[in-house]
């Protein structure tokens, strides 16, 4: 069977799933007066709603990804040969990540880019957390209402500026003849300009800043609902400030921390603009590799295979972390 045919069958499966869910809903409810989905909405409207939701999930969520999954298991072929005898299911694209298709050596470049991207994303997440936790704690627990509002505005307004503009302005700041180097040399801290961009300082700063809000708000939400008395109780019992955070605030805010860290990690691992504009000349970000397969080599098959490798690795890592810190996935999206 042609694998692309499976894609055609999927819509019907999705619709069937929604329909079955609607049918079963009434039975699952413990309340006997509870009306089922079709009882509440009527047959016509009920079917219409299901069709709309099904279309939405199908065309915007399921099908595009599914198409990419299918694509990643096919060889790269010119359009004329698609569906022909050479169009077979293959693991070649996934293999090519580990072993170079030409020559057969270990694919050091891509594995290196992959490992670097993951490690750098972890570093960015950690840096982001270190910046955002004190900020979120201040906003949620100790700041006055007026100051917190100003701070929020100061956090949000810079995001009105285009991402590329932000990246380039940061580049100007950090360049060898940029403001920071000029100042350092002017004050005599250093004789020669420091290569911030080559050392990926720009990359870390840019990525951390790009996802600041995504970290701040889950943390803020989590810490804000913490009863102030808990903090005072710990203090009254003799805890120094760092113990209060370790024993009371952080355990309480754990779901928010997990949620913020997960999102920042996923987004930085998958980011494109900041690494491209702010990364050093020797830095290769994994998403840039994927981008190049799609838009330079027109090798969609290999590009999507690489994208799924990244996705699987990120999900695995996040799940591992959640398990390590004993947070359930459900808690993080609360």
């Amino acid at each position: 069977m042609n694998s692309r045919l499976i894609v055609l069958v999927v819509p019907f499966i999705v619709i069937a799933i929604f329909w079955l869910m609607a049918r079963r809903e009434a039975k699952l409810s413990h309340d006997p007066t509870h009306k089922g989905y079709f009882e509440r909405n009527g047959m016509t409207l009920g079917i219409l709603f299901i069709a709309l939701v099904a279309l939405w999930t199908l065309f915007l969520v399921v099908l595009p990804y599914l198409y990419m999954v299918v694509e990643s298991f096919h060889p790269q072929l010119p359009p004329s040969k698609r569906g022909g005898p050479e169009d077979v299911l293959t693991l070649a694209q996934y293999q090519s990540f580990f072993v170079q298709p030409v020559g057969g050596g270990l694919n050091v470049t891509h594995i290196g880019a992959f490992v670097f991207s993951i490690i750098a994303s972890i570093a960015v997440t950690a840096l982001n957390f270190a910046i955002c936790y004190p900020l979120a704690f201040y906003m949620a627990q100790s700041g006055g209402a007026q100051k917190v509002r100003l701070l929020m505005l100061a956090l949000i307004v810079p995001y009105w500026v285009n991402e590329i503009l932000r990246a380039f302005s940061l580049r100007l700041l950090l360049a060898s003849k940029g403001l920071i180097n000029q100042m350092l040399m002017g004050f005599g801290f250093t004789d020669a300009p420091i290569d911030f961009l080559g050392a990926n300082v720009g990359l870390y700063v840019g990525l951390s800043y790009a996802y600041l809000l995504i970290m701040v708000f889950p943390l803020y939400n989590a810490i804000e609902s913490l009863d102030k008395n808990q903090i005072e109780a710990a203090r009254d019992l003799g805890a120094p400030w760092w113990r209060i955070h370790k024993d009371v605030v952080i355990p309480y805010a754990k779901p928010g921390i997990a949620s913020g860290c997960t999102m920042v990690f996923m987004l930085s691992a998958g980011s494109l603009a900041a690494p491209q504009f702010l990364g050093g000349p020797r830095t290769l970000w994994f998403t840039s590799v994927i981008y190049n397969f799609f838009f330079q080599n027109f090798n969609w098959a290999r590009g999507s295979a690489y994208a799924f490798i990244l996705l699987a690795a990120c999900i695995a890592l996040v799940m591992l972390m959640l398990r390590l810190f004993k947070v359930s996935l459900g808690e993080t999206i609360k």
Partner: protein, 361 residues
Amino acid sequence: MSAGVELDHVTVRFGDFTAVSGATLDIKGGEFFSFLGPSGCGKTTILRTVSGFLEPSEGKVRIGGKDMAGIGPNRRPTALIFQNLALFPLMTVAENITYGLRVRGIDKDMRAKKADELLELIALPGQGNKQMSELSGGQKQRVAIARALAVQPQVLLLDEPLSALDLKLRQHMRNELRIIQRMVGITFIYITHDQGEALTMSDRIAVMSDGVIQQVADGKTIYDEPATAFVASFVGENNPFAGTVAQADGSSALIETKFGRLRGRNPRGLRAGDKAILFVRPESIRLGAGATDTTLSSAVKSVAFEGNMTHVYLEGVGKKNITISVGRQGTTSIPEQGQVAAISYDAALGLALPEGQLARE
């Protein structure tokens, strides 16, 4: 070990607002001392000043004779029980109780031993591994007490800890608190707006209003010999009759009121011409006429039968009723609504005090 707490002209201001002004009192070591007052009277501010969460704007707080200025709540010999208890929801019962010991670096075995000891004290033996959510309101209450006692404070501060409980449990916990206090022998400072709690548990009570301490005395004195109009009207029920002093001597005063000239004791030395209020408690008034200077009459507005008592409400001044509580010892017939009834009291049970602010109903 217990320590006394001394407030020396303590004033606490928040911006322009003065929450406590010039509070001066001396709480003895081992005493069960209550601050009683309506909400917003500054009693919680005093508690937070003693515990160290607030610094007084003026004056000094001394605990065990030692000035507490600049010493944070984590380094004071006090422990605070919060109104909402503020137990740590993610810790077990034993972890909650021994948290103060953990931050002091006391090892695990010692902590377990102490936890068992305290669980015994609060009548929850062997329940240390339970989660907080598994406990009932009263049990949580006791865990909060144990957590505070674990750090062996010299002064235990309680901020209306019983207000979240239902009536039965609250009355039960009153006794329990008193028993625990006698057992551990440390100073308890208790904040409440509930006069029943203050009167039943305390050795001494400070009645507060608008940031000012009105009177410090034991419960019986507060009830029988209120020092100000506020205390007289806030603690227990009371019928105020405002007027001007017509005649006065060292022991009694005759007040010209809307209901004629009425007599009462004169402990504050009122003189003729002073503005005054005569207070007579509902249970001190009886139906029927007596001496002319202790008898008044008014129309009955309503009668409420309460089983052991019958409350009769008579037309007072303005919207305020005169309340009489009639017990069942006698065979007094209760007048009907609309009837004009004569009522009287013993002159010794009337109390004339200088005019002052009354407690809001």
